[in-house]
Amino acid sequence: MKLQPRAGFSYYPGCSLEGMNRAYDKSARLVSKELGIDLAELDDWNCCGASAYMSIRELRAHLLSARNLALAEREKKDLAVVCPACFTNLTKTNQYMGEDPKLRRIVGSALKAANLQYLGTVRVRHLLDVIVNDIGQSDVKAKVTRPLSGLKVAPYYGCQFTRPLGEYDDKEFPMMLDTLLTWLGAEPVSFPLKAKCCGGILMTTNQSVALTLVRSLLDCATQNGAECIATICPLCHMSLEAYQGDVNKEFSTNFKVPMFYFTQLIGLAFGFGRKELGIDQELVSSKTVLEKRLVVT
């Protein structure tokens, strides 16, 4: 289908960004504005269903995403998403409805009950993709007033940014965040586990498995010289930050690795303060690292 030129994006924050991960929302809005990306929050958006809804109901899980897509289509805008799980769910419904006439019919006729329809014209984008591919190197670099020189960052993508449906980066060894970090003056370290799973919701349901996965991620990052980890996923961020203490207890380790949402690092490089970027809400302090690299405010 031919895509119309769009003015700005409908912004889909997702449930996690209204709770534990508010700093991601705050920093995403701030740096988007600075970069001239017009994000208008999708009015009255609903939960994407995450992985839990799909584990109980299939068609109604697609219906959840279809309502969001229908609302975005009404605005004649593409959707900009920050949570990779939301990204995957919205993209999946979008693709499956396009490919599977039966699913399209079932979900389409259900939407009619609320006078909604979805024709399939919305593109679902992750904000990292928008910043790297639409805004690009020269415009991002032009905004950098405080390069993150020498800051050694492990770029952590997690699973659902590229798997299964992200088409703009390698499914197993993505590079987009590495690239962006170099534009900010930071030093992305080699991080072989960059697209491995943190366990996600298993942290609540099968904690020992999730802690094992998080430990190997923290091990890999620090052994490769990382002083901090940049994430693009609120759930990864929570697993690695809020449960770092539990990892230390379980395995007698001593990790103190600060975690940043990638938008916070962009904001720091653009000269914004810690508070404006929600860095003051962190659980593992980044103060020492930022002071050492002279990017503290």
């Binding site: 709770g19 508010r22 839990a52 006729s109 609320a114 699973c159 809400q281």
Partner: protein, 208 residues
């Protein structure tokens, strides 16, 4: 001729075998499961297979052998974290993560889940919250599930909760979306259509 000596449990598993097959074939791309060559790429790629009673490759084998009931009662499918490694690596193009979702749904529908598993409880609580509010207040979800399944673990989380609260990261009141009734109206219309058989090959069972 159906053997009359077959034990009821075995017969049940046998009957369910067909139901399960049809259900898996019914999801988008589900019939690709017929093309599994048992290479084990899925199991080798799975970050949690080390902790599973049956690995992803074994699940497909068990499925074919009609032993799915045993698999669903094990810890296996609920250890899938939806990382999609198996899906993108499968040389036969099987969307194994989607199949895991279908197996989770069938387990819940037919009461075939591991007794002590927390994940099905969490998923049900999640669905309840979405249907009620349209969004999920994640912290109340976690607390709700832990209180139900592991009250001690919930208690252990109090200090962490206070830290989060002090940092403004614990919203206490859930937000209800304005379109919640229209959302449920759509869902109701879908269920009605499924019940009245408007969508051939799709049952209403798991959708209500």
């Amino acid at each position: 001729m159906v053997s009359l000596s077959e034990e009821p449990a075995e017969r049940r598993a046998h009957e369910l075998g067909d139901v399960f097959l049809d259900a898996v074939y019914g999801i988008p791309g589900g019939d690709k499961i017929k093309q599994c060559i048992q290479c084990g790429t899925c199991s080798a790629s799975c970050p949690t297979s080390y902790a599973m009673d049956y690995t992803p490759r074994e699940i497909i084998a068990a499925f074919r052998a009609g032993l799915l009931e045993r698999v669903l009662r094990s810890n296996t499918v609920w250890l899938c974290s939806s990382c999609y490694y198996c899906t993108v690596r499968c040389p036969s193009g099987i969307k194994l993560t989607d199949i895991m979702y279908e197996l989770k749904r069938l387990g819940v529908e037919f009461g075939l889940v591991q007794e002590e598993a927390v994940a099905p409880t969490l998923s049900k609580a999640f669905v309840d919250l979405v249907d009620k509010y349209g969004r999920v207040p994640e912290t109340s979800l976690v607390m709700r599930v832990l209180l139900k399944t592991k009250p001690l673990a919930a208690l252990k989380m109090v200090p962490q909760g206070l830290k989060l609260l002090a940092r403004g990261r614990l919203p206490l009141l859930p937000h209800r979306i304005a379109g919640i009734s229209e959302m449920n109206k759509c869902a109701g219309a879908m269920t009605d259509a499924l019940v009245s058989g408007l969508h051939a090959g799709r049952s209403a069972g798991k959708e209500t």
